[in-house]
Amino acid sequence: MFDIIRKSLKTGIVTAKYPQSPAEVSSQARGRPEIDFAHWKDARPAVAACATGALAFTDEGRERTVTFDLAKCTFCGLCAESAAAIRMTRQYELAARRREDLKMVARYELAAEGAQSKLLSLSGPNGCASEPIDSPHGCDPRRRGPSPGYAIGASANEEARTASLESVGTQLNERVSQVLGRSLHIREVDAGSCNGCEVEIVGLNSPVYDLERFGIHFVASPRHADMLLVTGPVSRNMELALRKTYNAMPEPRLVVAVGACGCSGGIFGRNYATLGGVDKVLPVDIYIPGCPPNPCALLQGILLAIGKLYSRA
């Protein structure tokens, strides 16, 4: 027992400061891709490189419509390798309340040989996609940054985002106590995931992310839960179990779709064995993109969901 205590004291506190300060993300990390729509000359190579269909286009006459769906994106970075107008940022706080907030649509005029000559219109969420993220070293290891390891709070924009998150964080205890009597209970359901999201969700219980410090607990039964955290494209074999789990929850209840597969079906999409994203089966309150989302991205989504619960109560 003495050894156990001594080791704990020697180790000290390892808990990340997030959301009070930004998460420690490596300078190499790949987050949301950023597209310079105005200077994008040809969407075809990037669309061909995309394995999940996050990037897609349709041509009609002299016009091309390009969609970028963050809910399907796995941040693999292959599009950025095939298009100069795309680069990978380190941005990971991407949770959204509505599915359409993750989608961008650009309309182009087509030149000869199928290239894009002029951007006609761009629609999409303002705050999310068109905000320039000035990350000085990007994340492509071939465009290397000056320092190895972890850069914290790399840019003014990220700091601004963090400031808003911090206010979320400081209001959190108050909100949780008002709505839920000082706690939020989460039931996690894997509705067909590859287990990647679970690797990170388990990490929320680690001393590094320590979800319990916010009064948030994972519980064993949906009867005790306020929130359903669902991963995976919903498989045909899990649909009924997922519905039953949801129906067993008391009101008010929240559903959070986790990961590219949970948000949209991801690389599996819809096929004979899967139904696609969680919202094909349950009403989803928050979408957390990523493949898998890192623990801070999960935390941000959960905090956003609590705000939603607050406004509903």
């Binding site: 990390a29 941040f75 693999c76 067909g192 287990n195 009924l240 789990t245 004979y272 890192n294």
Partner: protein, 529 residues
């Protein structure tokens, strides 16, 4: 042909002269025997009993378009000869039936039933021919037949109608668990039959996360297959992606350059590290030693951050690519990796000391969940669980891939087969992993990190393999036209190992199930695909 394979192949062709129609040497360690379906019991028994062959994969392929036949493939691993012998037999579509091998080779059990479900080839003489991959309420469809469309719309799921076996007797109770579990884990259903605390019988129902992965492989460009392979089993993303790349590279007759093979080796070891460390912590948690788990989680987080610094993703996703790897590492990244292995070693040793100093932990783990070497051999148990039950085997040593031929390491083997030994295998392997990484970093070859792939020849077959952290992973492919595959068979070690859990839990008490299950830590998604 590898010299070790020659006597085996000539023995088989002699002995089964009447039924063996040809021998094809696809690669030095990969020999195909074309035979009639009548040859299956004899050839397999000969390989299994006399040549110590292991049935590592058994699958079907719908080749009706090319040769008007279904083909069954029986892949045997000959560890001593360092090669694979693949028996291929045709099944006529009009007949659409095949004879079970499960009574002679129990390892065939689930794989044969999967063929029956997904290809509609009727299984004869199987001891338990119930549905396996498709649940009981599925209509009569055969998804892996070529005439079944990927996006076929099926009626919605109406609930499980599976008939479990009855276990009856005075004081016998059934305890159903899942598919939604109490913890943050994948879905599966366990039905315990208990008399008081001890478990009399355990029935495992899986395939809740069946996602049509193998069908999907046939419908996407080969390059996208790498990304799909990363999503077969999330905690083995890199191992599965690398096994897939290995198969494609073998089919195209190219080899990844030395530096790429070295980087692959390091990534495979990083994957092993974070999973082994997490499992050691989780085993401690399941016997209520939470402090040990807290330290393990802390170390696991460090590995995940290192992964991100080296590959841009915490689970090493996006790193694999056909012909090599996508990202080279610069001096500062390699420096950080070196420093990391130096720092992790004492930290990990201290964690192990903490666990081993706890006599109550040892008391819970020792003699719990025993899998005997005999049962392990019958079921073809591989990986950690196999090595803890006396099976001295590791693809990294017996079938060197990536850059494992350039590293010296030991394969830990124990015979007791209990939870303690499955944890001890992990503890030993973490030490060996760090040693492998140090050796590879020491002699990191210069040069390119990816060989460009020529166009794939049509109808080429190849077996790719990797020793993942759980055990051996196989991807078998047959190329179609252009950049498409006609078939991709994925074999995760979990499929082989799940039935062993039912054996290991017998006689143990229900409260020990979580720790026994965790000591195997099998992948549901890798099994279900």
């Amino acid at each position: 042909m590898l010299p070790g394979l020659e006597p085996i192949v000539s023995d088989l062709t002699e002995r089964f002269r009447a039924h063996v129609n040809g021998v094809r040497l696809e690669r030095a360690n990969e020999v195909y025997l074309d035979a009639d379906v009548e040859a299956v019991p004899g050839v397999c028994a000969r390989l299994y009993r006399n040549w110590n062959g292991r049935l590592v994969s058994l699958f079907a392929d719908d080749a009706r378009q090319e040769s008007a036949m279904f083909h069954l493939y029986y892949v045997f691993g000959l560890d001593a000869a360092h090669g694979f012998i693949v028996l291929r037999v045709p099944v006529a579509p009009g007949q659409a039936r095949f004879t079970s091998l499960s009574n002679a080779v129990p390892a065939a059990n689930w794989q044969e039933r999967e063929i029956q479900d997904l290809f509609g080839l009727k299984l004869e003489g199987h001891p338990n021919p119930r549905r396996c991959a498709l649940h009981d309420d599925w209509p009569e469809v055969y998804p892996l037949r070529k005439d079944f469309p990927l996006c076929a719309a099926l009626p919605p799921f109406q609930g499980e109608r599976h008939k479990f076996r009855n276990v009856e007797g005075e004081g016998v109770f059934q305890v159903p668990v899942g598919p939604v579990h109490a913890g943050i884990i994948e879905p599966g259903h366990f039905l315990f039959s208990v008399a008081g605390e001890p478990v009399l019988y355990l029935q495992i129902r899986l395939f809740y996360t069946h996602k049509g992965t193998e069908k999907l492989f046939e419908n996407i460009p080969v390059a996208h297959g790498v990304r799909l392979a990363e999503s077969i089993s999330g905690d083995s993303s890199f191992a599965h992606a690398t096994a897939f790349c290995h198969a494609i590279e073998r089919a195209a007759n190219v080899q990844a350059p030395p530096r790429a093979r070295a980087l692959r080796t390091i990534c495979l070891e990083l994957e092993r590290l974070y999973n082994h460390i997490a499992d050691i912590g989780a085993i401690a948690t399941d016997v209520a030693f939470a402090v040990a788990n807290a330290h393990a989680m802390r170390l696991k987080e460090r590995v995940l951050r290192l992964n991100e610094m080296l590959t841009g993703n915490r689970l090493l996703r996006g790193m694999a690519c056909l012909g090599g790897v996508r990202f080279d590492w610069e001096a500062d990244q390699i420096g950080a990796l070196k420093a990391f292995t130096g720092e992790l070693r004492p930290e990990f040793d201290s964690l192990v000391q903490l666990i081993q100093a706890s006599s109550s932990t040892r008391d819970r783990l020792e003699t719990t969940g025993i899998l005997t070497p005999e049962t392990a051999r019958d079921l073809g148990v591989v990986g950690i669980a196999g090595r803890a039950s006396g099976f001295d085997h590791d693809l990294r040593r017996d079938f060197p891939h990536a850059a494992y031929d350039r590293a010296r390491f030991l394969v830990p083997v124990y015979r007791q087969g209990d939870v303690l030994r499955r944890m001890q295998v992990r503890i030993d392997e973490v030490g060996e992993s760090l040693g492998i990484m140090d050796q590879i970093i020491q002699g990191l070859p210069p040069g390119g990190i990816a060989t460009p792939l020529p166009p794939l020849p049509p109808n080429a077959v190849a077996l790719g393999y990797v020793e993942g952290w759980r055990g051996e992973i196989f991807h078998w492919i047959r190329t179609g036209g252009g950049d498409r595959l006609a078939r991709c068979k994925v074999k995760d070690p979990s499929l082989q190992n799940w039935p062993a859990l039912s054996e290991a839990i017998l006689g143990n008490i229900v409260p020990d199930f979580p720790v026994v299950n965790k000591s195997f830590n099998l992948s549901y998604s890798g099994t279900d695909r």
